[in-house]
Amino acid sequence: MAEVAISIRNVSKSFGSLRVLKEISFDIPKSQVFAFIGPSGAGKSTLVRALNGLEGIDAGEILVEGVSVHDRRTDINRLRTNIGFVSQSFNLYPHLDVLGNVTLAPVHVKRQGQEEARERALAILGSLGLADKARSFPQQLSGGQQQRVAIARAMAMDPHMILFDEPTSALDPELIKEVLDAIRQLASTGMTMVVVTHEMSFAREICERIVFMNQGSVLEITPPQEFFSNPKTERAREFLGKILHH
């Protein structure tokens, strides 16, 4: 049995009377890629944001590398240095250039020297095809470039895993590929990853498991070939029917 990176145990959460997560339990092994898919309102984003504590939970427990995320005694900042997070809206710091965006956390959180952080950042930016953008400001970049900078920013912390919350849904269609390529490249290094996505072919191609969610519940956790060819639940069949044949 592979080492477990993230363990989700009986997690529930409500917004008022609306139950957005209903007793969810499953494990994500190390070096695997899990894709969360499902219709909107299924709870995918809430769950992925709960994994690094950006969302609280009402019941249950989430363990990252054996440490309880929502335990008050946990040093959440320290834990988060191991968990990269890339959101759909990039959220680059507009007052800093690309290099500043990538080096800010390593310098202030990991206490890396400026020079060391700079070199690491340039290497990562180079690997993502952004070497010539180091001195640009976010607003001078395309959406695809901005999202790749956000990925570089997450990678610069040397995280053990990266969470992607709909990384391509704010992008123009012609810019999606460059971002997916960057994520693919990252997957090939054996990084543990969770990707909330609507890109079905991408999910089929890179992930070990599809986690299909609907109305706060996980309905299926299956390998992609099986999920796309022979979904177990009626709801998944319906969902696939809608998005694959529109």
Partner: protein, 516 residues
């Protein structure tokens, strides 16, 4: 950031001169208001560095008799008595009337001068010859003065009150007023030299000027009275009053001196001569150039007070805004209360409270500290609201992105949220500085001589509100101009740095120092 704030606060306090409020041995510190003008005390039109006036001469003679060195302390006329209680000076002399209200709060020496009120009208007016004739007429006088009180008791007089007698007499000449009622010395010096004006009617009322001393300082009061008596007996007091053309029958009676005049009214003659020279343009320019040292010092005070208070306002405002937006509930509420209370009360009252009120609980601040503190604490409330808007306009995702990378909340605020908020608010904050520069004129109420105060002094000295006003306005503009430029530059730069729509396309590389 905490380091920055500490440094700024420290800087602020280092910049402050140490307090020099306590009475010094061998010195007679006396309070007066140079803006009160002739003949009481005013800057010598022939040498602006010199203070002249019959009361200046009396104080100097008095101090000599007492064996002390006189030291003048400037304070606004309205605040001369609070300033005395505040220990800014030992005695106050500036046409302070011996009235029961005044005697409730301070003690007075024996009167050194007695005078009356005088009605003035235009030379072609033959309808008004007494106080009773003023019924139904428009009459000008000094704000909150004895003459205002007298006019009120007449009844049915349309009273217009003025801060400066000069303006009242101009309005009498140009027809806005039908009559004026002023203390006779003021009438003599400001109405007297005007050909269009004549004085009518009898001597009205009785005004006694005395030297004010803090209650309970009986030893000082005795010494002052003894010195005054010596001045009276030696004839020096009369000689001073005659030089200024102020000797009258009321004073003669009060001082028991009925002899014939002995001294020529040289100072009055000199005043009248200085008042009406035919100025060439060259003279005019030379006169305004001679203002520059006085105005320069005043501008420096204005600038120093403004910079110190803005530094405080910026630092404290940021702390208040951070507490309000990100602080725990009790601190957030406190911050809100601070802002509401400070914004809801006039800054003038806050200045008074800090300077004249706090000494009651043992906190004695020198005028500069009090002024910078008062304006700074006040503006901090406004800056806090600007910062708050700035902090709230930084998207939530920014904080999340920083937290997601393992930064603490404080690190995220320090490196991500606050820098963006500060950039957003720089233009409005810079604009606020420009209005602070002008509001700083309020510090004249706590004895500082800033630009506005200097304007009042010079304008009274030369009877020239127009030209002096233009010169002072130009100086205010010059002081504000760099900040207007800075506001525009930051606006352009911030628009670019934050991806906001702005006018400038290229990234400004440095501060452009050209004006306009």
């Amino acid at each position: 950031m905490r380091r920055l704030v500490t440094a700024l606060t420290l800087l602020l306090f280092l910049a402050l001169p140490s307090s020099a409020l306590t009475a010094s041995p061998g010195i007679l510190a006396w309070g007066g208001d140079t803006e009160g003008g002739a003949p009481y005390m005013f800057q010598d039109p022939r040498d602006l560095e010199r203070l002249i006036g019959y009361e200046v001469e009396i104080v100097e003679a008095l101090a000599e008799k007492m064996g002390l060195k006189p030291r003048f302390v400037q304070n606004g006329w309205d605040n001369l008595i609070p300033g005395l209680e505040r220990h800014l000076y030992d005695v106050s002399i500036d046409g302070l009337e011996i009235t029961p209200e005044h005697q409730d709060v301070v003690d007075f020496s024996m009167p050194y001068y007695v005078t009356h009120l005088q009605i003035g009208v235009r030379r072609d007016n033959f309808d008004i010859g007494s106080l009773e004739d003023c019924r139904g007429r428009i009459v000008g006088t000094l704000k909150q003065s004895y003459s205002q009180y007298v006019l009120e008791t007449v009844g049915d007089v349309d009273i217009r009150t003025y801060e400066d007698e000069v303006n009242a007499y101009s309005d009498l000449v140009n027809g806005r007023l039908e009559a004026t009622l002023f203390d006779a010395p003021i009438a003599l010096y400001y109405g007297g030299p005007m050909r269009e004006i004549k004085f009518v009617g009898p001597e009205i009322g009785r005004i006694e000027y005395g030297i004010a001393v803090r209650k309970g300082e009986e030893e000082l009061l005795r010494t002052v009275n003894r010195a005054l008596t010596e001045l009276r007996d030696s004839g020096e007091l009369r000689s001073i009053l005659e030089r200024w053309n102020l000797w009258n029958s009321l004073t003669a009676r009060a001082l028991q001196d009925y002899g014939p005049a002995r001294t020529e009214p040289v100072m009055y003659t000199r005043w009248v001569a200085d008042l009406q020279p035919e100025l060439t343009w060259q003279d005019r320019i030379n006169r305004y150039l001679s203002f520059l040292p006085t105005l320069g010092r005043a501008a420096l005070t204005t600038m120093k007070v403004s910079l110190a208070s803005m530094t405080l306002a910026i630092a404290l405002g940021l702390i208040l805004a951070l507490l309000r937006v990100f602080g725990p509930k009790p601190l957030s509420t406190l911050s809100m209360l601070y802002v509401e209370i400070i914004r809801g009360t006039p800054v003038l009252i806050q200045l008074f409270f800090i300077f004249y009120g706090l000494p009651n609980v043992g906190i004695r601040l020198d005028p500069f500290t009090a002024g910078a503190l008062g304006l700074g604490l006040n503006y901090a409330a406004y800056e806090a609201e600007i910062y708050r808007a700035g902090l709230l306009s930084v998207p939530k995702g920014q904080m999340e992105a920083a937290l997601g990378l393992g930064m603490t909340r404080n690190q995220a605020l320090h490196h991500v949220v606050v820098p963006q908020a500060v950039r957003l608010v720089l233009p409005p904050v810079t604009n606020d500085f420009i209005s602070l520069l002008k509001d700083s004129s309020l510090v004249s109420v706590i004895t500082l001589v800033d630009l506005t105060k200097a304007y009042g002094q010079l304008a009274t000295t030369y009877y020239d509100y127009f030209g002096t006003g233009l010169v002072v306005a130009a100086i205010y503009l010059l002081l504000g101009l760099p900040f207007v430029r800075l506001a525009r530059w930051t606006e352009a730069k911030m628009a670019l740095a934050l991806g906001l729509p702005g006018k400038g396309k290229k990234r400004p590389s440095g501060l452009d120092l050209r004006l306009f």
